[in-house]
Amino acid sequence: MSKFKEELKKNNFVCSECLKCKKLVWPSSDFCNSCFSPVTWKNMARTAKLIEFAKRNDEIFCIAEFEDNVRIMGRVQTTSNLKIGQSLTLVFCDYDGKEKFVFEPVI
């Protein structure tokens, strides 16, 4: 299992970061997509911005943007109305055959 998935299982979201130019490479890779240098794993901050969302039954799914334009799809837990651009917190992530990201709005 890749480091990315191992860390997700520990509720850590990590992203590959270039050792030379410090650029985040997402989705993660073993090489920088600018300079092809090796990468290390960076722990991502738990805050993100809501880019877009929709619903399937009562489940809200969204695109959330982390630092350096790293965007990911995940689920939003809330009963309040959402607004594009609002801040989200990554409250939980996991890997159980699928990459899972669960957010809550920052009140």
Binding site: R56, F61, M73, F101
Partner: protein, 368 residues
């Protein structure tokens, strides 16, 4: 070197269980049956377009067709495999490496390709309904596009598909049927989606030097545009448009010296209804935010200019065959052989085929 289309073949799109080889041979057969002077010895190139995991398929199909080509290989690019394979065949001919190319696309419903597992940025939401729902949310929010607007796309395309004997759907779905079909998300119903199915499409390309051996009415590929912006869906910065389509359209219009106003008939990649609304804007047929108005006008005037065969929504979507089937429709329209689907005075046509949430697109301009 000009490159043209000389002939084509299709199978009906179904869910009947049939091998990938038999599917491909079924669409190749009409090309050899119906094309004057064509024999297996004329074929320099055989390209197979599919997401099947079958190996060495172009060589297998060549052998099963009695062809010993110079070059044979498969082309895979998810939903955009078909148009990519046509561009590959075009390039071989334009480069002088070949004169005649047979391009055959086919898919089986259980082939991989529906879901791009590599794309970790989709998280647990890997199925295409989720990315299409994101595009719909963004367009609805930005431009006030409604669920009824979106349903009109399916209503037009299902109506057009009724005159396509190769279409998967054999019954018409009304606007009301679509509006009342099962919701998959809050902005996507089951009849807003194209259906995976089995099917095959084949096309014969030839150089200017050889093409008149095979047809008196060649249709020329006069413009090609392609762009791959990424593989991961979330790299789409602006979800109200598809950057790859914008770029490839501009390139195709430029190298054919045409604009959207010159296009008489077009096939657009309506994997989901919202895609067609966005693509009408990206390809320059409608002003930004007015794609849905354009679709309502198509519906109200019975205009078949867009997706006359019924698009992916009405015809079905056998991934590797789709781009080739789209091109065959424009080929027939420009030859004047589209029967009940015929658009009057069609001289210039456009094909738009895209992949994986709009992350890559191909646009072809065809001329009679």
């Amino acid at each position: 070197m000009k490159v043209g289309i000389a002939s084509s073949g299709l199978t009906k799109f179904t869910k009947n269980d049939i091998s990938i080889e038999s599917l491909m041979l079924s669409s190749i057969k009409p090309i050899f049956n119906d094309t004057k002077n064509l024999s297996q010895n004329d074929i320099d190139i055989v390209l197979t377009s599919t997401n099947s995991n079958d190996k060495y398929l172009a060589n297998i199909i060549s052998e099963l067709s009695g062809i010993a080509p110079k070059t044979s290989h498969s082309v895979e690019s998810l939903c955009n495999s078909g148009a990519n394979s046509i561009v590959s065949a075009y390039s071989y001919i334009a480069a002088g490496l070949a004169d005649v190319a047979l391009v055959v696309g086919a898919e089986k419903i259980d082939n991989p390709g529906l879901v791009l597992e590599w794309d970790k940025s989709r998280g647990q939401y890997k199925h295409p309904i989720y990315w299409s729902s994101m595009f719909a949310s963004a367009h609805m929010r930005q431009y006030g596009t409604t669920l009824e607007d979106i349903a009109y796309v399916g209503a037009v395309n299902h109506r057009n598909a009724m005159d396509n004997p190769y279409a998967y759907f054999e019954r018409k779905f009304s606007l009301e049927d679509i509006m009342k079909s099962k919701p998959l998300t809050d902005n996507l119903r089951v009849l807003d989606c194209s259906m995976s199915c089995n099917g095959s499409a084949a096309i014969l390309l030839a150089s200017e030097k050889k093409i008149r051996n095979f047809t008196d009415r060649p249709i020329w590929i006069s413009g090609i545009g392609q762009k791959s912006t990424s593989a991961s869906f979330t790299k789409n910065e602006n979800l109200t448009r598809m950057e790859s389509t914008l770029y490839s359209a501009a390139q195709a219009y430029e190298n054919s010296s045409k604009t959207s106003s010159d296009i008489d008939v077009a096939e657009l990649h309506d994997a989901f209804s919202i895609c067609e609304i966005i693509e009408l804007e990206d390809l320059g047929f409608a002003r930004r935010g007015k794609g849905s108005v354009y679709v309502r006008d198509l519906y109200n005037t019975y205009d078949r200019k867009i997706n006359p065969r019924g698009g992916l929504i009405g015809s079905g979507h056998p991934l590797g065959a789709t781009g080739i089937a789209q091109t065959i429709e424009i080929f027939q329209q420009l030859q004047g052989t589209a029967g009940k689907r015929q658009v009057d005075n069609a001289n210039t046509g456009l094909v738009h085929n895209m992949s994986a949430a709009g992350t890559s697109s191909t646009v072809l301009i065809l001329q009679s």
